[in-house]
Symmetry: C2
DNA sequence: TCACATTTAATTGTTCGCAATTGAATGTAG
DNA sequence: CTACATTCAATTGCGAACAATTAAATGTGA
């Protein structure tokens, strides 16, 4: 019996989409790093700021649902953003279990300084916007199918 | 002047391919977790094993180039695989700077037990093989363009 | 009202991931 | 052969990421 051709071997690293996604995520991170360094943000912190620039004064849980992250990741991250004077953390008075995250004026104004980031990423992608949008939609659809499986 | 529609706003989270990739990587990780738990591996450890199952007795640097990881990540990870009796680390006698990573018999035989993993991932992806291969190729091409930019 | 479950953040401990540095081995130019 | 640079792995320090647990607040059923 002939051995499986390596280009079809499902156990081969280069045939696995998960490694493609994993390594692409790291490549994005490395492209973002010098851009975000100037803003004093890490990439996950930048994601949190993107969420807050869309809507402010939201509980930690909402940010977590948006980014698929839990309090174990977000609590220390938000404390660092607070230490950097970009957000304020306050217990909700209606529901004392919740901690509401609000932008400070510095946090608000950082949005302007971050405006050029997406274009830089687009340039580094060396790819048309329409192609990127199509890929993004496919990847999001795949992610959502995977997340559906996790919830059984 | 009209404000940009949010579906076109490049600063909007859901319009960013990097977040799609980032969140898909985490979704994959969560799907892999129960499968790899049974093998006693984390996902990055599984990637290292995939590399070693293809070719054995290679220096740390080769594994790093394959997975885009450096010694700061790999050294402790490989020590954990050694502690789990899956690999052996030995200084090369030809070049004493290199540490060669070889599979133990347990490390070799784990490949059989891991054979079903890719099918489980395929099932969770809820997607045809040809679609996945096409997506993988696109993502790899994007990753390689990003990595090309990093190297200036 | 009282007991119990649920929700929400925080905490603890382990593992990645990377920048920066170190130290030893090797390569190279003069 | 002697300086000097380069390569390679290890180390240190910091910031994610997540499982598991904790504690407080809230919701619910009897």
């Amino acid at each position: 019996m002939a051995r499986k051709l390596s280009t079809l071997d499902p156990q081969r690293l280069d045939n696995q989409i998960c490694f493609a996604v994993y390594s692409a995520a790291h490549a994005f991170n490395r492209v973002y790093k010098p851009l975000l360094d100037r803003l004093g943000l890490t990439y996950p912190q930048y994601l949190v700021m993107l969420v807050l620039w869309e809507r402010d004064d939201v509980p930690v849980k909402d940010i977590g649902e948006r980014l698929f992250l839990d309090s174990g990741t977000l609590t220390p991250l938000l404390k660092r953003l607070e230490a950097a004077h970009l957000v304020k953390r306050t217990r909700s008075s209606e529901d004392e279990r919740q901690v509401l995250i609000a932008l400070t004026p510095q946090g608000q104004s950082l949005k302007e300084r971050a405006r050029s980031v997406p274009q830089s990423i687009l340039a580094a992608s060396a790819c048309s916007v329409s192609e990127l949008v199509a890929m993004k939609d496919e990847i999001v659809a795949l992610r959502d199918r995977l997340n559906a499986v996790i919830g059984e």
